[in-house]
Amino acid sequence: MDLAIPSQIVALLTFPGVVAHEVVEQLFCRWLGVAVFDVCYFRFGNPPGYVTHEPNLPMRQSLLLGLGTFFVNSLLGALVAFPAVLPALEFRVSTVQGYVLAWLGISIAAHALPNGAGAVILWRTVWSRQCPLVTRLLATPLAGLVLIASVGRIIGLDLLYGIAVVAAPPVLLLLILR
């Protein structure tokens, strides 16, 4: 797929994020007791990594697996980059270790989004009959956003998401303090 080339370049430049995504997903499988058949932590392909777990999971497991990985990686990316991004924005200070932390944070956050199949499964789970109405109402915007973003990967939307996640907490903190 020619369109997949940009996402492969993004994946190569942000490989720690690919590994972190698969590790967190595998840890969630371990925690939830979901059978894992195959894992690829990084490859030059689309998707750049995957965890093949058992299909048709109960709703709770499916939701936690889809959204849990998304939240954990987003949070981890934001936490790693925060002490590098905040001084860069506020004091115009840039150091080598700051760049490394910012790159790592963006890499992890950029791969917080589930891949195409994962996003579709998440959307189907949210709209399945078993899903309670409250959960559906709460999870629909997020699942929709994840679905759109996973499709937008081919135009680098995942990288934009990573940058936004890393930049948002320092910007919000500075807005509150001012």
Partner: protein, 167 residues
């Protein structure tokens, strides 16, 4: 890619018919009923506790070290940010003594910050300590300073030159 089944699942012996209610891995008849994919408790737990390769453990350790390293900067970063904001408020209120103290706190953590240096110099100058201002702002001379402070710093240098009668 969770829909794909492992190869060994489909490689069941042709003569043996495994009932739908038997484990797909070991064929025991006791499966966990809450799951759609038929696996026994033991097989599901064994598969869910899949080992991480050594190289992945190493990468995870490096990422965790980076998290800890980043975490160690949190107190200083937050302290400096709070001090900078207090300094800005004090400077706007004309309380240059407090502003100088706060900007010095920022510079303890980020000695090379052009923003903190510029505001420290400006506070010295507005507080009537021109010599200290020249000393501090001299560090910014000839550098590509942020736009927010470059104009103010240039104004101060021009005022000092005018007062000193230097063209």
């Amino acid at each position: 890619m969770p829909q794909v089944l492992p190869e060994h699942v489909s490689e069941t012996p042709r003569r043996t018919v495994i009932p739908e209610t038997a484990c797909k891995i070991c064929s025991v008849p006791y499966i966990e009923e809450e799951y759609a994919f038929p696996l026994c408790w033991d097989c599901r737990r064994r598969l869910s506790r899949r080992e991480f390769p050594r190289v992945i453990k190493l990468i995870c350790a490096l990422v965790l070290m980076a998290v800890v390293y980043a975490g160690s900067y949190y107190p200083d970063t937050l302290r400096a940010t709070a001090a900078y904001q207090l300094g800005q408020r004090a400077e706007r209120a004309g309380n240059f003594g407090q502003a100088i103290q706060e900007y010095q706190t920022v510079l303890e953590t980020y000695p090379g910050s052009p923003m903190a240096l510029a505001h420290l110099g400006i506070s010295y100058y507005r507080g009537g300590n021109s010599l200290q201002a020249i000393w501090v702002l001299g560090a910014l001379w000839g550098q590509d300073n942020p736009k927010e402070v470059a104009h103010q710093v240039n104004d101060i240098f021009n005022e000092i030159k005018k007062r000193a009668g230097v063209k």
